[in-house]
Symmetry: C2
Subunit: 326 residues, 2 copies
């Protein structure tokens, strides 16, 4: 690796002069300036960003800790976070916790040791006390914490559940089923079930709320869970799935059970990721503003670093997108 010293040696000036030319500081004659730049070009010198980061005490890198990379929701989220980060001149350090508490803790330590500028947390198990003595801005994205002083950005999950139940009832369904999140985790997404239940109670519509288990979430394979649930609840004529990925598998299981969607069964997903519009039938879903939530996450980290005050709790609006499955 070529250093400033090598450039100095080659051009016969001091390292300080080379540094001045690069940083455009102090008086340098045109001849020297030209000579130094020519050597920089010829010797393929590249400034050492790591050294600069050391001087600056942070690295313009934002750590993103997710429980899954290939899940369509997180893939879309990562894509949008990367886009927003680039616009704000940050790089992305991507960490997949796989929902393993030790792995999450390890990643967090790694982010801190590497002096990231901020962290976007989408993974559940991280112990809040780990952050207590840190100066790094942290964003909880669709994630709750016992600590109340961490910026939290979430979509209006309760309203999403309400919209889904209301739409299924409007379409004539009288026995609803909700495939909810992972049992025992207390995530913001669990509020979808609350909104769903409240509308059903209000309208006197029978409803079943099922949670999935950690194993299904890890493997992204919900078919067995869906099949057993439908066999156990044969009267169900409307399903609200807590992700488009689950909804895609509901279509498959219904097809195998000769249940026609939307004629015999209406179906709504959640997230509005690419597959919802590409499925057959195209999936009615609750749109989560992933782009805007990603943009805010990066913006808030950036503002916090500049000492500005940012909101502590943000709820983003959701909306129903009607397609062919209802």
């Amino acid at each position: 690796m070529v250093t400033i010293k090598d450039i100095a040696q080659k051009t016969g000036v001091t390292a300080t002069t080379v540094s001045r030319v690069i940083n455009n500081r102090g008086y340098i004659s045109d001849a020297t300036r030209e000579k130094v730049w020519k050597a920089i070009e010829e010797m393929h010198y590249r400034p050492n960003e790591v050294a600069r980061q050391l001087a600056r005490q942070h690295t313009d890198t934002i750590g993103i800790i997710v429980p899954h990379i290939s899940h369509p929701y997180f893939a879309k989220l990562i894509s949008n976070l990367e886009y927003a980060a680039t616009r704000h001149h940050y790089k992305i350090l991507l960490c997949n916790s796989r929902e393993e508490p030790e792995k999450e803790a390890e990643y967090l330590e790694m982010c801190i040791a590497n002096k990231v500028s901020g962290i976007v947390l989408c993974s559940k198990y991280l112990q809040a006390e780990k952050f207590r003595f840190l100066d790094i801005p942290i964003i909880n994205l669709e994630r709750m914490d016992e600590r109340k002083d961490i910026i939290t950005i979430q979509s209006d999950n309760y309203e999403g559940g309400r919209l889904a139940a209301q739409h299924l009832i409007d379409k004539g369904c009288r026995s609803l089923l909700h495939f909810g999140g992972v049992a025992g985790k207390n995530m913001p997404a669990d509020r979808r079930a609350d909104g769903f239940r409240d509308v059903c109670l209000q309208k006197g519509v029978s409803n079943v709320i099922l949670q999935s288990d950690q194993k299904d979430f890890e493997s992204l394979q919900y078919q067995d869970h869906i099949r057993k649930s439908l066999e156990k609840n044969p009267a169900v004529d409307g399903i609200f799935a807590s992700s488009d990925l689950i909804a895609l598998q509901v279509i498959q299981v219904c097809s195998q059970m000769k249940i026609e969607i939307p004629a015999q069964m209406k179906l709504i997903g959640f997230d509005d990721v690419g597959i919802s519009s590409m499925a057959t039938p195209a999936i009615t879903t609750i749109h989560q503003p992933i782009r805007e939530m990603s943009e805010l996450s990066i913006e808030y980290i950036d503002k916090k670093l500049r000492g500005e005050t940012v909101p502590l709790n943000v709820y983003m609006p959701v909306r129903l997108i009607e397609r062919d499955s209802t």
Copy 2:
């Protein structure tokens, strides 16, 4: 941020002693050792990984440059690369080039300035001469280059095309269509069309090979392209799509055109990502060994850094996975 000096001050020993305790070097009395560790705990000291990286001249970070993050193929690839990197104690710096040449060049500069340990390139436009003077190991993953001295890992795309055509013909198809990659890019994936064409010619089966345009690839929306192609080629009874994502949309367009899969139309995808098994009908596909290709990419970077000799060109085997769409 707490430094070694702060620990030294608090414990009344020198900074060198603190450093020795942390790095377990030289003789230190048990009393001093205990005192220093206690202060480290109490003051929440964290070693500065950036400073260590500066000393080491690289950062244990691997840059990944992809043209898409949320495309299921790249999402699965990133997920597997991250997993392999973690096993080898590397971190992932994720860059989405969006197939913009300037953005790719910018990301590459950024990776270099940040002293990454290696780069996995999955994006097309990067100019080879940019790397010419670099010591950093680079892996071309499913990507070709004019430069012949860069490690290239690809799946046996030609064989994949052959397997697809052979399977469709075995299933009774007599007029085949291939939805290929983006026109004018000369990617390894284009070899799928060659294998497909060769089998069709050999068996005397009529075949049409269509390329998609950059816009469709960027938006991941192929429906219009598929619809127009099927209207223009009404005799087609077998389709080989160059990704499962395209195959998913073929199912939708066929459903809208009242063409039954597999009764009237047989369909094969490529990649074997999650959606292929979750679609209705589940999609027959060519399995690409994404996990193994990711593992090799990281392993080769690691070996190159340790001065070991690694293969220059690797072709990974593919295999047919038969599901309901044929």
